[in-house]
């Protein structure tokens, strides 16, 4: 396993939700699209399936909303989009993230 200490899993835990919000801030996406975009980078997700519990939390939090649309092929698709509240949360995360990332880099000596 690539992450024996669970470090990647811990780091993802607080940030992946906001990565979803950031992807959605560029436009609505249906589940499979969204999940594949995220899972394309193995640093972000363990597997595609693990994104769904996270999407469920975001729906319940009210940061994303979903609408069903007919698909040109196959079953109707559920599209995810960012709510106004989700957008505010994303803005706040971006500010916090920059400060956090810079501070950690300084301490770790990973800033260049």
């Amino acid at each position: 396993m690539a992450d024996p200490a669970g470090i990647a899993a811990w780091l993802r835990r607080g940030t992946l939700e906001y990565c979803v919000l950031a992807l959605l801030s560029r436009g609505t996406r249906y589940g499979v699209e969204l999940v594949r975009d995220l899972a394309a980078d193995p640093a972000l997700t363990a597997t595609e399936g693990t994104v769904y519990p996270l999407l469920s939390r975001l729906r319940r939090t009210g940061w994303v909303e979903t609408t069903w649309r007919e698909s040109p092929s196959g079953p109707p698709r559920r599209y995810y989009s960012l709510t106004e509240e989700g957008r505010r949360a994303l803005d706040q995360f971006r500010r916090e993230w920059v400060a956090f990332r810079d501070a950690v880099d300084r301490v770790m000596g990973t800033d260049s």
Partner: protein
């Protein structure tokens, strides 16, 4: 490929999810299964041609049901919309645990303190007796112990 074979693969996968999710809140479990079912249906429809291999690839990419369920179980919402209802037995279990801890501490005190006292007392008594035996060594058993004033002078 045989359509029913693909359906069977999907059904078996979702069964594994359902089994892994047995400990989840029922509404969360059903939501997770319906999200995954929906994903699979959409991804299947996007396969250029539906093959068993293609379906297996979709399921492989979704990943191990246990890992998905672990994510559903552990994650707390970044900001919960409302306090999630606790499982009915969660509160009693917590207080049970507290009671057990208190009991364990009390028992430990009740058992350990007397034991410690006995050990210490025993050691003390042993020391005294050893001294006494040493002091009255040579005297006849049963004869009242001489008081210090009448004790014969020690050999010099």
């Amino acid at each position: 490929m045989n359509q029913t074979r693909g359906d069977a693969l999907v059904a078996a996968y979702l069964d594994r999810v359902r089994a892994a999710a047995a400990g989840l809140d029922p509404s969360r479990r059903e939501e997770l299964i319906s999200d995954l079912r929906e994903h699979i249906a959409t991804a299947r429809a996007e396969l250029p041609t539906e093959t068993e291999e293609g379906i297996r690839a979709i399921l492989d990419r979704l990943g191990d049901p246990a890992v998905i369920v672990a994510e559903a179980a552990v994650g707390e919402p970044p900001r919960p919309p409302a306090a999630p209802p606790l499982p009915e037995n969660a509160a009693p279990r917590t207080s049970d645990r507290t009671v057990l801890t208190v009991l364990a501490v009390v028992l430990a005190v009740l058992v350990l303190v007397p034991v410690a006292l006995c050990v210490l007392g025993g050691l003390g008594l042993f020391a005294v007796r050893t001294t006494e035996i040493h002091e009255i060594h040579g005297s006849v058993t049963g004869v009242p112990l001489p008081t210090p004033t009448v004790r014969p002078p020690r050999p010099s």
